[in-house]
Symmetry: C2
Subunit: 133 residues, 2 copies
DNA sequence: TTTATATGTAACTTGCATAGTTACATTATG
DNA sequence: CATAATGTAACTATGCAAGTTACATATAAA
């Protein structure tokens, strides 16, 4: 697997779960289907659980399930749960002493914030359920 | 320096150049001001040169200059020159045998393309010149 | 109550992208 | 010719995410 495949893995898995919301799936099953490792699956799905999108049960007959109806889970929910940085611009700078640099950052930041709001709006309009077809 | 600072370095440098478009700056000067290394500067600015945004001259009294007026250089030009991946979603997959996965990818791709067009449009409306203040 | 089977998670390895560095060839100016 | 700049190859250092191993914990079934 390459980099930044968390979103990919999450959506793929949620897509399958949306088709059969009552069947629990184990991380081993999910990992085999997705061509990765059970621990990686648990790490990614763990974030979705923390966000209230999935539930997990330990032990015999345990596994992972949707925490609510597929129609009630939007793409924006998933993005936020994974804490995906949508843009590659590095925003974690300490304050610069250079006025030019500060001005540039400010401008970029404004544009990015604007675009991000726009994106989240669009992502919120799409549920996992309607993404399967 | 951390990761993905190419855009940051490029904009910062272009900002200064826009203020004094006729003064050539050496990669050593630029590196010192930006707190990095001359070779790194040459690598990043080299991309801007390939894109026709900057020119460079070797030898005594050489250095880097804007290739055209600051008003004619947009944020979109810079983004494209640096080949920045705007979104973190990994799109470089081989075709999947799983229909659910293909459907998810298709949906995401549609949303991303839409957002990206929107972003480029906004970036094209902002020139380096007007970003200084 | 024991056994099998799941998650949760820490600790480590691996792979890859980027920054940083060193060294040197090339080129242009004075 | 000496100086000072870019251009670039080759290497090291760093950081991050995926992948792996190992094991503690929890739960269901035998």
């Amino acid at each position: 697997m390459k980099r930044n495949s968390r979103l990919s893995l999450a959506l793929h898995t949620l897509g399958h779960m949306a088709a059969e919301p009552d069947d629990a799936q184990t991380s081993t099953e999910i990992a085999e289907h997705a061509g990765t490792n059970p621990v990686v699956v648990r790490r990614v799905l763990g974030r979705l659980r923390e966000a209230g999108i999935l539930t997990s049960e330990k032990g015999h007959a345990g596994g992972w399930k949707l925490a609510r109806a597929p129609k009630e889970i939007t793409l924006a929910d998933v993005f936020e749960a994974l804490d995906e940085q949508l843009f590659s611009y590095d925003d974690n700078h300490e304050p610069s002493k250079c006025a030019v640099e500060r001005a540039m950052r400010q401008h970029i930041s404004t544009v990015m914030t604007d675009i991000e709001r726009n994106l989240v709006e669009q992502l919120n309009a799409i549920s996992i359920d309607e993404m399967r077809s």
